[in-house]
């Protein structure tokens, strides 16, 4: 095995060692073991639901939905709070103006 020619010959031999390879077979009663595993792996409703929710795509989509709902509620709140002071302050002001107007009127009327 000292000459490169020998090495090349050996390499070619090794590369051809898988020619005519036979299929390997599992040990006997393979189906019985698969069946037993299938029974063992059968999941309850809650396990299946949990596994479904734990899927990255589902979990991320759920998280996005919750965030979107939160943002929507925040925006809704902001629009109601920013519009509410106008109605609150404008109403009493109108009343005060009326009150003042009435008073002015009265004062004017009191001093003829």
């Amino acid at each position: 095995m000292k000459k490169p020619v020998d090495i090349n010959k050996k390499v070619e031999e090794v590369l051809g060692s898988l020619d005519n390879i036979q299929r390997a077979e599992p040990q006997s009663f393979f189906f019985t073991r698969v069946n037993a595993r299938l029974k063992r792996d059968e999941k309850s409703f809650w396990e299946t639901t949990g596994a479904f929710l734990a899927r990255p795509a589902v979990a991320i989509a759920g998280l996005c939905a919750i965030l979107a709902i939160n943002v929507f509620i925040l925006i809704q709140k902001e629009t109601t709070t920013s519009s509410a002071p106008i109605t609150e302050t404008s109403q009493p002001q109108e009343d005060e103006n009326i009150f003042a107007a009435v008073n002015t009127y009265d004062y004017e009327n009191l001093e003829p």
Binding site: M1, K2, I7, N8, K10, V11, E13, V14, L15, S17, L18, N20, I21, Q22, R23, A24, E25, P26, Q27, F30, F31, R33, V34, R37, L38, D41
Partner: protein, 190 residues
């Protein structure tokens, strides 16, 4: 029995059809897994997992490819997942041993002997399998499907969802890499 009929029956929950499917394709699945993971116990475990998945997700099989192609894809994916898990565990064990939390000794696996190799080629095949194990993932899969499972380049391309020319290229690179690895091995063995 016809492949399509078996699939249809399994979709309806027929256990006898499932038994026929397992018995028809168990050697194919086991041999493919064994060629990739190079360990009999792991290959048995993967083959079981493959059929459990087939039973649970047969409804997702639309019949666009051959059933055997679908089986090969599941087997290759499961085998690669298994290897990644094993490598992760090995790395974790190594780190643990470095910080002195692990008393277990990390042992390198012995040479793999495929039971389907003829007796006088066993030693050479063991050397070859070791070199195959060091190939990049896609080259390893293409080489294993072609040489261990005996699939044509066309069939390999269907399993790997690629073109025949890509498989040819993968095989060419795999053979070159193997030659280099084997040459180094025998040079250093002198």
């Amino acid at each position: 029995m016809d492949e399509r009929l078996l699939v249809e029956q399994l979709k309806k929950g027929d256990d006898a059809a499932f038994k026929t499917i397992v018995e028809t394709w168990q050697n194919m699945v086991y041999n493919t897994a064994l060629g990739i993971v190079q360990n009999a116990e792991d290959a048995e475990d993967i083959a079981q997992e493959v059929f459990v998945q087939v039973y649970q997700s047969i409804s997702s099989f639309k019949g666009e490819s051959k059933f055997s192609t679908w089986l090969y894809r599941i087997t290759v994916t499961k085998s690669l997942d298994h290897e990644r898990r094993k490598k992760r565990k090995k790395r974790f064990a190594f780190v643990k041993s470095l910080i002195g939390e692990q008393d277990e000794v990390i042992v390198n696996p012995p040479d793999f002997n495929h039971p389907g190799v003829v007796m006088d080629k066993k030693e050479d095949a063991a050397v070859l399998f070791k070199a195959i194990g060091e190939l990049p993932e896609s080259q390893r899969i293409a080489f294993t499907l072609n040489k261990v499972e005996g699939l044509s380049y066309q069939e390999v391309s269907e399993v790997m969802k690629t073109t025949v020319s890509s498989v040819e290229s993968l095989m060419h690179r795999a053979k070159n890499n193997l030659k280099k690895k084997l040459e180094d091995y025998y040079k250093n063995k002198r």
